[in-house]
């Protein structure tokens, strides 16, 4: 514990440097805007701004990009509460009671509860990250190729199991992602795979063009400008403070949301989205007045907002400690670290303590910044939403092109981004979630390498995955999850994931 405290002090000495503080502030500011604006989520925001970090050192880069991620969770609540527009998918549940509170004239109080809940949950998440990630990383140092293979397969299966859409659809998307991740030169034999005589494809498909295409351009193609309304309600500063009864009603949901969100955040999947749905369902079930939900219940804002913030912090645990991305956002953040020559994983804490602890400490600072930014400046942020969408989305298209081109100065990457944008639009039309595809793309090289190394180690015997204890446990969990999913599918039972999906569809409509 003392060593952890000393390391955290080292982290604060990095995070409180003026230049690192500046980039943390920029990340939080951009993240708040990204979370508020419809048509651009944290993934697109991080992907588009990734090339801007190339000139920075790894610490500043990851501090800024992570600031965008958790800042977007704060920003997403503003439009949900004031306009019933979820700027970000995780804020869908906040729309219901947040907007109802606004209609009752308590929009300011809802914003304050959401911001304080996000702050408490974010800080709780960082404390847990501080305590959990280093020992987990030490434990993972004993992992060999079979354990990593089993871990990555478990990640994919967990993602499919937790997904609100069907298991088959999620696994199909992840498999297409794996395929895309195999384009280019095979690192073990030097063979070109599906490069079609295009030299730029030799290095494979970059995560940035794919992610920006699927989530940036794809989202714009799916959002016709006529469908975006910009009726803005801006609360006065004096209306921001909740009354005593509202504070009391928010306290326990904030606590429960923080714990629930962090635990779900560690699990692969769209954790911050799932956690807000589960938190809402939990609060409604525990409430003595469940009939208030949907009509402006304070717990319906406090719980989901706390949960999605704690989950976005929890998602950093497997990314930093195991080098395992649990979702597309952490996958892009992992790519950012790799671009700066720092592989996330068990060695990160020991080999790059300044990056790891600087990043962790910056999250404490970032949460304070976000609280200070989001409450007094809410009126200013809301005014950004007055920009007509027909002027806003051309800007995003421009930044998509510039951002993707700047990664490798390759126009082929921009064409890939465009193709992926069209693909993302078609996927949405057929009700596919593109997030597992990005996850598959990122883990494909690691999965392939560890699988082939495992088979070489065992002289071609698949038994290696059940002979080693850790791998065997992970594979057993995979099998258990698949059996549970199959049973649920065969019984055609409306389980909790289907109910969440139905609820989401109902609210989106």
């Amino acid at each position: 514990m003392e060593a952890t405290f000393d390391s955290l002090l080292l982290g604060f000495s990095v995070a409180l440097r003026p230049d690192v503080l500046l980039y943390a502030f920029m990340g939080c500011l951009v993240g708040t805007l990204v979370g508020m604006l419809p048509g651009i989520g944290p993934l697109a925001g991080i992907s588009i701004l990734l090339p801007v970090t190339f000139g920075l050192d790894a610490t500043k880069a990851i501090v800024m990009l992570a600031g965008i991620y958790y800042g977007s969770q704060y920003g997403g609540s503003t439009t949900s509460i004031l306009m019933r527009i979820p700027g970000e998918a995780a804020s869908v549940m906040t729309c219901i009671d947040g907007y109802a509170m606004t209609q009752k004239g308590r929009g300011g109080a809802a914003l304050c509860i959401a911001a304080v809940g996000s702050f408490v949950a974010g800080t709780f998440g960082v404390i847990m990250l501080t305590l959990v990630a280093p020992p987990l990383g030490t434990f993972a140092l004993g992992f060999g190729p079979p354990e990593f293979t089993a871990l990555l397969v478990l990640g994919l299966v967990f993602l499919a199991y937790m997904s609100a859409t069907s298991l088959v659809r999620t696994l199909l998307m992840a498999s297409i992602g794996l395929l895309l991740g195999m384009v280019g030169i095979d690192v073990m034999t030097g063979h070109f795979r599906w490069a079609f005589d295009i030299p730029e494809l030799g290095d494979g498909l970059g995560i940035v063009p794919v992610a920006v295409g699927l989530f940036g351009l794809g989202e714009i193609l799916s959002t016709p400008s006529r469908s975006v309304t910009t009726k803005v309600v801006s609360p006065k500063l004096s209306e921001l403070l909740p009354n005593r009864a509202e504070w009391r009603a928010a306290a326990a949901p904030i606590g429960r949301g923080s714990v629930l969100g962090f635990v779900i955040g560690i699990v692969p999947g769209s954790a911050h989205i799932i956690s807000s749905f589960l938190s809402y369902a939990l609060e409604r079930r525990l409430s003595k007045t469940p009939e208030e939900f949907g009509k402006g219940a304070v717990a319906g804002v406090a719980g989901p907002e706390s949960a999605n913030n704690a989950a976005s912090t929890g998602a950093f645990v497997p990314m930093l400690a195991l080098g395992l991305p649990t979702g597309p956002v952490t996958a892009v953040l992992m790519a950012a670290l790799l671009i700066h020559g720092i592989p996330p994983g068990p060695q990160l804490v020991t080999e790059h303590p300044d990056v790891f602890w600087g990043f962790v400490a910056s999250m404490y600072v970032g949460n304070v910044m976000l609280l200070a930014l989001n409450l007094p400046l809410v009126g200013l942020f809301v005014s950004v939403l007055r920009i007509p969408y027909s002027y806003l989305y051309p800007l995003i298209v421009m930044f998509c092109i510039v951002g993707v081109y700047e990664v490798n100065h390759s126009i082929v990457d921009v064409w890939i981004m465009l193709a992926m944008g069209v693909f993302g639009w078609v996927l949405r039309k057929f009700d596919f979630d593109p997030a597992p595809l990005v996850l598959g793309l990122v883990i494909a090289p690691i999965l392939e390498m560890s699988l082939r190394q495992s088979l070489v180690m065992s002289n071609g015997h698949w038994g290696i995955f059940v002979q080693r204890p850790i791998a065997a446990v992970l594979i057993a969990i995979c099998a258990g999850l698949l059996v549970l999913s199959a049973v649920s599918m065969l019984r055609r039972r409306n389980d909790w994931r289907a109910r969440l999906a139905a609820e989401e569809a109902g609210d989106a409509a």
Partner: protein, 148 residues
């Protein structure tokens, strides 16, 4: 005949998987003890095709492919064409000219906003972005041919 959404999607996946399998014939699969460059791609293609087949099988009772679901295709197509033209011109005409044209094309032509505000917006934003990226962040943006 009712065309089902998941059946169409599953058949497209199956066709894509088959085409990819056919084009991967030259990749060495190797053996289990020494896997080649083609082994993992073949496993991934097989998975894609299996899930595609399940989608077709289960999709016969799924929702229909509704025409009104594609009502935004017209707008999407215009944005795609504008982005494709901008991508083609980007390294040929440079950042400033291409992005001014792209912004004007989207705001003025696709969104049918008034010409003068659209033109001023396009030029102003392209110039501001060029100053931000090119000057402040020192990101090398493609120059216009007259300056190169």
């Amino acid at each position: 005949m009712k065309v089902r959404r998941d059946v169409v999607a599953g058949l497209a996946v199956l066709a894509g998987g088959a085409a990819l399998w056919a084009s991967s014939g030259d990749l060495p699969v190797g053996s289990l003890a020494m896997p080649g460059a083609g082994m993992m791609p073949m496993i991934a293609i097989a998975l894609v095709m299996v899930f595609g087949a399940v989608l077709v099988f289960r999709g016969t009772a799924g929702p229909r492919l509704a025409a009104d679901h594609w009502s935004d295709a017209d707008h999407a197509l215009r944005v795609i064409v504008a982005t494709a033209v901008a991508t083609f011109l980007y390294t040929r005409l440079g950042f400033l000219i291409t992005m001014s044209l792209l912004l004007f094309g989207l705001v003025g032509l696709v969104e049918r906003r008034r010409v003068l505000p659209a033109a001023l917006f396009s030029l102003g934003v392209a110039l501001a972005t060029w100053l931000l990226f090119g000057m402040v962040l020192k990101a090398p943006l493609p120059p216009a041919p007259v300056w190169s």
